[in-house]
């Protein structure tokens, strides 16, 4: 019994330490964005010699949104002879094929890739698109995105830096007003990009390539073996593969693009579980290599590890509930020193729990959208929701490893109606 109690106590202390570390991390990011020095991004570079770029738009049954993204991509500000668009029709059985072919007839630089055989999913599509791409740089937009005119140039220009392997832009939800979920997701996105990603860029840490509204070097991606179809978050995988080979990922806050966020809690639960499952897969694969990498400095390693572990936190919290209950009923809550524990728990509950909330509030403040900060208390529900479904995703990832099974790609449901077209 003494061993069990010791294990439970060690876990509880571990949990408290983990929470404190993430609290400090979130506060550091928020402080940096509010008061710290902001680094220049490459967007100010004006260069007439732009590389050839291939814009890839993976699509599976995207008839609701395909027209909008393609229409927008015909108006981007980039030399006509130096870009092409490859929309991937990935086993669609709706009207997606006709829409793509219609655009291809009118615009010769739109070259649809119809995938009717082979595996389905974004990694398969991206690998096939890279085979036919003419560009040195691949820029990816999901089908529900509405790219503005200057975004491709803003993303591509930073590949002038010889060490940049991938670039991530900022995602902004378009359907914010729809319901409580979309309004909360809008704030969550704000916190994630305006503060989290930008602070990591400022602090020379590890901004994350998110798989859309971003780009990467084609040759490097091919050299790294392309995208694994068995990973649910090929974007996170690319981030770490690049870092481990000495490349950098940069974040471009001004490369902003509208997206459609989930309007239904069920869809959101699937999406966030998938992210957690994929992220945990990547974590299991890359934790050791990140620690040993000669290319990452101490702080990049710390941030890389915290980034890899982030989807495990909800699982740790959930496990912490029965652990602390057991300690309580075993009358063994006297961890280390009661006063110390009290201070730590009180400090965490006073500040730590709210660190992500400060981050989100600060991002809304920076964006000049101050009224929406009033919604922050509702994040209590969102937080619990995330804990539940992220834990589920992480748990499934561990199960995948144990059972040696490969998870299947799931497409996020679209909600756009023709009358909602943002164009």
């Amino acid at each position: 019994m003494a061993v069990v109690v010791l294990i439970l106590k060690v876990f509880t202390v571990f949990e408290i330490v983990v929470m404190l570390v993430y609290t400090i991390r979130h506060f550091a990011f928020t402080y940096n964005r509010l008061f710290g020095e902001q680094r220049l991004y490459y967007q100010d570079i004006v260069d007439s010699d732009l590389p050839v770029v291939t814009i890839v738009v993976p699509m599976h049954n995207e008839e609701k949104v395909a027209k909008d993204v393609l229409q927008q991509l015909t108006t981007i500000d980039y030399p006509q002879d130096r870009y092409e668009v490859i929309p991937i029709n990935d086993h669609s059985n709706d009207g997606t094929r006709d829409i793509l072919d219609g655009f291809a007839e009118r615009f010769p630089f739109i070259k649809p890739l119809h995938r009717d055989s082979g595996g389905r999913g974004k990694p398969y599509g991206l690998n096939d698109a890279m085979d036919m791409a003419r560009g040195d740089i691949i820029v990816v937009f999901d089908a529900d995105y509405i790219p503005p005119a200057g975004i491709v140039r803003d993303i591509v220009i930073c590949f002038k830096d010889p060490q940049v392997g991938a670039v991530m832009g900022r995602v902004i939800p378009k359907n914010t007003a729809t319901n409580m979920l979309t309004r909360l997701l809008d704030l969550e996105r704000s916190g994630g990009y305006q503060v989290d990603q930008q602070a990591r860029h400022n602090m020379k840490l590890v901004p994350q390539y998110g798989g859309t509204v971003g780009g990467f070097r084609k040759n490097v991606a091919l050299y790294l073996g392309g995208f694994s179809p068995h990973l649910l978050t090929e974007d996170t995988e690319l981030t770490f593969l690049l870092l481990l080979k000495g490349w950098k990922v940069v974040y471009a806050n001004r490369a902003e693009c509208y997206e459609e966020s989930p309007e239904d809690w069920r869809v959101r639960s699937r999406q966030i579980s998938r992210w957690a499952r994929g992220h945990t897969q990547v974590m299991l694969k890359n934790l050791g290599p990140v620690l040993r990498s000669p290319y990452l400095n101490r702080w990049e390693k710390v941030d890389g590890i915290l980034l890899l572990l982030i989807y495990l936190i909800p699982l740790i919290m959930i496990i912490g509930i029965p652990v602390s209950l057991s300690l309580f009923f075993l009358e063994e809550m006297n961890l280390i020193d009661f006063v110390l524990i009290f201070i730590v728990v009180a400090a965490y509950n006073s500040f730590g729990n709210f660190a992500p909330f400060f981050q989100i509030g600060s991002s809304a403040f920076i964006d000049g959208a101050t009224h929406r900060i009033k919604l922050l208390p509702l994040f209590f529900f969102c937080f619990l929701f995330n804990v539940l479904y992220v834990s589920k995703g992480s748990y499934l990832a561990f199960l995948d490893v144990i059972l040696k099974r490969n998870p299947e790609w799931q497409k996020t449901t679209r909600f756009r109606k023709q009358s909602d077209s943002p164009l």
């Binding site: 570079i45 919604l375 619990l384």
Partner: protein
Amino acid sequence: MAKNHPFSQTIRFAFIAVLLVGTPLFGGQFPAIAPLRPWVPMLVVLVFVLLNSVPFLIAVRELLAPKDNTPLYIDMHYSKDPLFFGRKFRKLVDTNLAPLFVTPGMHSIDLSRQEYVEVSTATEIPPGLRFLHIFVGLKCLRTAAKVTFAKELYVRGRAEIGEGNEIKAVYAEDDLVLGKGVVLHRWGYSRRNIIVGGGANLGRNLASEGAMIIRPGCRFQSLYGLPICFSANGGDIGSLATRQVGEFGSHPVAASIQTEWVHSPGELFFNWIPLKSSPETGDGIEGYGDGSSWHFSQESAHLLAGSRVHCNIVSKRNLFIGEGCVMDASVKSYGAIHLRKGVVVKESLFAEGDIRIDENVQVWGNVFSQSRVTIGPGVKIGRPGSVKSVICKKGLVVDQDAVIFGYVLTEGEGMSS
């Protein structure tokens, strides 16, 4: 709410979590409370619930009667344009000012607010005058010393701005000449060439669709010209305008290459780590696309004078590139970069620290620093026929006879010395 709906599961989970976590946090024992009147605990609970609800009430109110539920604004037409100020003003001229040109005199128009516009056929402005309204010169215009334009100045021909003039913004359809000590508060723009006298303050942006000459002692934040020449003598507008772009090309590349590094970086005197280790390519240098790079990790790296390097270089610390070196690709440093005399860099320079470029260096690509950049005499940035940039966060000093083909921007202060 459906029985198995994710959100209802979350609510149930919330109750359970609060119960489970709350109980041990209180240690299962609440402090002993002296006997109270029966309504006191109820009142305490009621106040507790009410106070806890306040933030939620505000949130629910914003949810039900939203004041701020529109998507964050993205300018869907925005694209980086170094000629932005001029082009935007030109639109304003075409849409709002052009109808006034037929009748010289004072006009009142409604822009973002009521503005007065003086349309004039004058070609000379006497000294010391102060214009508090928008001024439109229908012909070429020359101003004497100490004239102030508190609003925009638009000239349909060549504009020669006298010494010590103070202008909010100026747009010239032909050449623009800014005299000594002119102060631009916002921007200046010329459809042709610009020449700037010494000691001028060039505001936020000075842009020309043609060439630009800047004399010593000028301060600036952002410049655009093809090319921008920093010159104490020579180079008047007339000769600049008639020169061919090819004339701006400079020295032949590296007169005497002493050492050529292509496949054997191990022979270099500093430690190196290849950015990749490709089994197909063996030495880890040549390989896929543009990814062939060297990565230096030691305190400060020195590249011997007269070396030639065919691949990208990334240095974790300060990087010194010796005289006459030729770099066929880009150079990046997490510290400072110092390019000694006569170096040629055929791609771009990126540094977290200061970049110092000594005399007669050529950089064919961009120069980008998170700190300061110092450009020595006779340096050429960019090449004729292309547009490149010098971007630095904290400040830029450019010496005489330096030429930049394209764009200059600093968040700090730029200065021609």
